[in-house]
């Protein structure tokens, strides 16, 4: 069961630079580890993370096995207008997990 925790301020003043944090539950299996039977455990990572603000991309990342398990990101954006900030994590199987947060800008 995938879980994500995101932190977006509920309110901001127009033009403020706000900090956004995103934490996602995922083992980020590197593909370099051996299991109890001595065989390599297949790679299974989130390889792409995208954040949009009212549909427009504000931050994204290509990820490699060197990103820690339960990947965490923080970054900034300018509070432009009220609306929705959306987060998408995409794994090696192409499955995506989506989370959204509302922001009120005055």
């Amino acid at each position: 069961m995938a879980r994500a925790l995101i932190n977006v301020p509920a309110k901001a003043k127009r033009g403020d630079i706000i900090e956004i944090k995103a934490l996602m539950s995922h083992p980020m299996e590197t593909g370099y580890r051996t299991g109890p039977d001595g065989a390599l455990v297949p790679r299974d990572i989130i390889n792409r993370f995208i954040c949009t603000y009212n549909g427009e991309e504000i931050f994204s990342a290509d990820l490699f096995p060197a990103i820690a398990a339960n990947p965490f990101f923080s970054f900034t954006t300018i509070a432009m207008e009220s609306g929705r900030i959306a987060f998408r994590w995409i794994d090696d199987r192409g499955q995506a997990h989506l989370e959204t947060a509302e922001i009120a800008v005055e």
Partner: protein, 155 residues
């Protein structure tokens, strides 16, 4: 504790396995990153462009308690305007199995060029962050890290 260089290819896990009396677990592993493969990965990112030191600040803890999760922050001195901003920030390492760590895409909507994450480091090594600016120039910072072992782990 003073630290002597270890030959590439001997991971901490293998040493722990050996310590637990499981010598048979030392098997052939995929090739590991080297300073040369990091140089190749950097070349793939910057092409023929010159990479200058400066404008980028790479923050990592002085001493890493556990290489499984190492907080990393990259800041770039940039006004982040439409005319002058950071487009991409790449992070590379020298001694993990792969030289690439992450590639971040930014634009003027960020307001600031400031990104944090947590990374894995299989060993003490150099980490390099390179920022590509909107004018096509590349800037970098480097950090050397000591990765220590936690006590009492699973065998």
């Amino acid at each position: 504790m003073s630290r002597k260089p270890r030959p590439v290819g001997t991971s901490r896990r293998e040493i722990l396995a050996a310590g637990a009396g499981a010598l048979a677990l030392i098997v052939a592993r995929p090739a590991r990153a080297t300073p040369e493969s990091m140089a190749d990965a950097i070349k793939a990112f910057v092409g023929e462009a010159e990479v200058r030191e400066g404008r980028v600040t790479l923050e990592l803890p002085a001493l890493v308690e556990n290489g499984n999760s190492v907080p990393l922050t990259v800041k770039v001195d940039s006004p982040m305007t439409a005319q002058d901003h950071v487009k991409r920030i790449a992070v590379f390492n020298e001694r993990n199995p792969q030289p690439n760590v992450a590639l971040f895409y930014l634009n003027p909507r960020a307001g600031r060029a400031l990104v944090s994450t947590r990374i894995r480091l299989g060993d003490s090594q150099n980490i390099v962050a390179i920022a590509q600016l909107s004018d096509g120039t590349f800037w970098s910072d480097k950090a050397e890290l000591i990765v220590t072992l936690p006590a009492c782990v699973e065998s």
